[in-house]
Symmetry: D2
Subunit: 348 residues, 4 copies
Amino acid sequence: MRVGIVGGSGYTGGELLRLLCMHPKVEVTYVTSRRYAGKFIGDVHPNLRKLVNIKFEEYDVTLASEKCDYVFMAVPHRSSMKLTPDLLDVGLKVIDLSADFRLKDKVAYEKYYGGHERPELLEEAVYGLPELHREELRGARLVACPGCIAVSAILGAAPIVASFSIDPERIVVDAKIGSSAAGREATESTHHPERVGVVRPYKVTGHRHTAEIEQELSMVTGRQVKVALSAHSIDMVRGILSTIHFFLDELPEEKDVWRAFRAFYGNEPFVRIVKQKTGLYRLPNPKAVVGSNFCDVGFELDPHASRLVVLSALDNLVKGAAGQAVQCMNVMEGWDEALGLNAPSIFP
Amino acid sequence: MRVGIVGGSGYTGGELLRLLCMHPKVEVTYVTSRRYAGKFIGDVHPNLRKLVNIKFEEYDVTLASEKCDYVFMAVPHRSSMKLTPDLLDVGLKVIDLSADFRLKDKVAYEKYYGGHERPELLEEAVYGLPELHREELRGARLVACPGCIAVSAILGAAPIVASFSIDPERIVVDAKIGSSAAGREATESTHHPERVGVVRPYKVTGHRHTAEIEQELSMVTGRQVKVALSAHSIDMVRGILSTIHFFLDELPEEKDVWRAFRAFYGNEPFVRIVKQKTGLYRLPNPKAVVGSNFCDVGFELDPHASRLVVLSALDNLVKGAAGQAVQCMNVMEGWDEALGLNAPSIFP
Amino acid sequence: MRVGIVGGSGYTGGELLRLLCMHPKVEVTYVTSRRYAGKFIGDVHPNLRKLVNIKFEEYDVTLASEKCDYVFMAVPHRSSMKLTPDLLDVGLKVIDLSADFRLKDKVAYEKYYGGHERPELLEEAVYGLPELHREELRGARLVACPGCIAVSAILGAAPIVASFSIDPERIVVDAKIGSSAAGREATESTHHPERVGVVRPYKVTGHRHTAEIEQELSMVTGRQVKVALSAHSIDMVRGILSTIHFFLDELPEEKDVWRAFRAFYGNEPFVRIVKQKTGLYRLPNPKAVVGSNFCDVGFELDPHASRLVVLSALDNLVKGAAGQAVQCMNVMEGWDEALGLNAPSIFP
Amino acid sequence: MRVGIVGGSGYTGGELLRLLCMHPKVEVTYVTSRRYAGKFIGDVHPNLRKLVNIKFEEYDVTLASEKCDYVFMAVPHRSSMKLTPDLLDVGLKVIDLSADFRLKDKVAYEKYYGGHERPELLEEAVYGLPELHREELRGARLVACPGCIAVSAILGAAPIVASFSIDPERIVVDAKIGSSAAGREATESTHHPERVGVVRPYKVTGHRHTAEIEQELSMVTGRQVKVALSAHSIDMVRGILSTIHFFLDELPEEKDVWRAFRAFYGNEPFVRIVKQKTGLYRLPNPKAVVGSNFCDVGFELDPHASRLVVLSALDNLVKGAAGQAVQCMNVMEGWDEALGLNAPSIFP
């Protein structure tokens, strides 16, 4: 299948290229970049030298329609909503990695991102989380891949909100995030001397991913939940750990929580339940997933504070972005869901 | 004044030496180390070469009594309770950096650390947090310096629990901690290839510092509070950030929270209230305190989730250990509290 | 083909498993570990959870002969020379990643590693660098994979010593090395607080890899060369950069150096000549190869000092160890040399 | 004494402020910054909050002359040559941290930096390396502080070129450098995801500091030496290690090299000779000097390659810039040379 990437010079674009060049059913035929049009891809993504031998091109909808069957959108939010409708109109399938089509509620979109120009597409777009929307993904024309923190929070929390009477107004998601999530543009906040050795609370309240997490968890549980999300930048390139603190009047037993996770993820190819008695990696840790499409989830019970803590770890550029997108494509096409996504994490 | 350090070869011991060699009223006359007795201090702490020119010695209570007026105990918990009583008996003042005398309640001690051999000293020992116990420190003979996470959590939370009707059973302390807190002994968990790039949930529930945090906050507020503490090892050498999530039925106004912090810390030499509208360092971040004795505290209000988030940052080896101990000594002696502690953090 | 790994719990063993589980012609049937026998591989290598589902076993030559056609030896030097002969005797092919069979000259072995117990095998063993020994590898029974620094130094220097009249007694190899090269055992030197922020000259003179570098370069050039190797540990997990300084009475032109590299590596699947006019990655940098089997080589001419500088970058665990070993196996079997080794580096 | 800093918002400016606020004889009265004029210094240098309570001001020569006795110039090269002459004209003493007055030879300046506008000052300026120019510094009016790599290379090499018949055309200086040396401006090359895990050869040939290193070493030895300098960016914030490879027809004995270093540095307050038989810090390593004004030097002899290797480590912002400048001021004023510079490195 012929696949295009709109916005191929950033980290998400590069990660799509890395994954797709190992995908046995796909050929990348078209990669756009305003800044690097005419340059070889390996000049921008040094890991792809000798492996991807095409050049960046200018974006053009006609070209896209001629060269591709599928398009991955790796452009900033608000850009995607301008380009995506035309791509759909020429019959392409679109997997969008921006925030533009994630929320069902245009008022919520407006609150966090500004007014939406094509709200009619919000209904159609499928939220690209196969673990919750696999059926809808088959046959979808427009898929909105979740935000990276959102994936980790939702996959960690869904089995709990679905199974237990947690306090739905006291869900703390404390997220720790690597620098690649900030994108490829050099900024003061990612200047190496300022980023090394930090724990920088960068979005303590009001984080945009709150909306999609609440949308999905409310869908799972059937009633409105509220998420208290705080995000911290740490000295790490790839990876997210979300620590999710739930309070319950009555704590479940450990085996019941196990059961809840197993029921949800028993057959999932990319969710691993990680909870061991000993060992350095007895609980989820981004270290064990970096570069792979896995989301590792685990938990502990805290009788002292009547609390259930869930840990959820993933690579923001893979399961939090490009890998998720490829997984969605695999589902949409009815292929083995793990095609092109089998490579283990690099460790250590 | 002549000062000794029992257990001078670890990171806390080294940090005491670093600070005390700049202290104008103190001479370090005795430093013990079983392993390095007879070696120059600069051979073990390479930063002190040419600055500290004495040798490690064997521990001996008579020698200590001859050579010192004060002793800092930088030995593991359970060792301190064996050695400290004898040092007190020969008339020395002792500032203990282990956990052995922090808890007033011997049952709590037993729960977290095992049976206490000298419980009668628990009552006498002063909890070495000048911000809460300054008066008691003057004239104290035995001071128990707080745990590093405890300092950050207590200093962050005290003004809030003292001033607002927070839910006292839903206080989440989500702590992110550097590797130096694990001590100088090489272990699997601090092996560089395994520690780089991690967010390792190492004590999600049941952390020992819970007891002292609850002890102090309950004292401040006059009723029992419960703390839901989770600690994460990250890829950083020095520093702790505690993110403290409180829930309130009614959120205070921002100026009221400011007022609460100012009332508590307006004249404190080593607590800075950090809350700006913009800038990379608008909120507390260990990066801005590393190497110094400051604890930076700040906050944000989250109307969406009816939450108040406090951030509290410090250097675990300074305000979380050695600097705190020196500050306590300054208070005990009636000196300027900042003597020897004026050096700014190294940045970047 | 059925493949075994002797010593599968270290980083090299883990890397062999990571690569072999993606190899289309190979099944890993036997992995030994004294310490972890009976445990699942994913409990020790957390990246392989759900991907490699067998257990570690005890080492036993009969078992090896029953279960495998090939054996990779990932044990310390001096252990390999004890085990390897028996494995050869039962008809297995052995690819050894230790230093035991790298040197043709047993006196040189003795100088750096101690007396050799099976010197008669030194002659037979093929030095596992396909770029120099491809023909000998086909049909080999015992292959000795090069040391990680040696690979980078030899691949960087070979085209130069082969083509230009460099001063053969003034070749400086200044190597910068990541912590994973020290192995999985936690030691003082890899304790995270001591390893972060260092440039530690750990082997300024007398590095063992000197012998194999000189052996190979002397073979290439036909006369004895002398290498002045210095190795530095830096704050990086994977990767080596060797900076190789050559002096010449008369500097060649740039195009001649290009030509020398092209002649050597024009068709090599895993050597990339990296030399661009601009860009962050215009010269070799471990960052661009980590996780992949590439060795990137490049150069600059310094007319001021009549010097030619070659840069050579690779991942010590891949092209410097496990990837190299798999490449050797592919050559030995007459397979496509890149089988199982196509995955790009993870970037950033 | 009243001291001003022109260009106080960068890392060098911040480091001057950090050191000067601990200096007992100095008051910082004037700090300029075009970008931050009117802002508190603690808003830009978060480590100085509560310790330095003045604001940035606009640059103005009259203001400088009114408010200061001394001025430190922490502006880019080519800016300094425009501002410095006026400051001298109004009677101020100037310590310049840019490259503008380091070279005696205006042709050399032109080659590396472009035409010089005030070449007549090149003769007067004293090269601010107290270890070589202490006498000239007393009474100097204009001091040119050396480049950071230059300090490490010169202090490492001077005793050797002064004492031994090394090959003067084959001196390799292989430098490894932290990111703070690149300044405070965020750039692509210091973008955290691109800087972590690198060894980036950023100036393999033609580095500007070559000129000053050769100037000083030729002065020491009395004949022209040539330096083959290559610089590498690594994943470290502060610090430089220069590995200096010398070749000699006849190697000296170890005690003779010791003697050469001792003769040079026996009484120097800020050079430590570091060469031990064992231990993690047996040789120089930036880790042991970061934050302090020390330059650690050590060496090894390599009979195999007839080579002498010198290691030289310092903190680029302290002994490589701001600390050096303060040391120069102390010498100029006839004060104890270590005033304000006594704080040990922070370790680990």
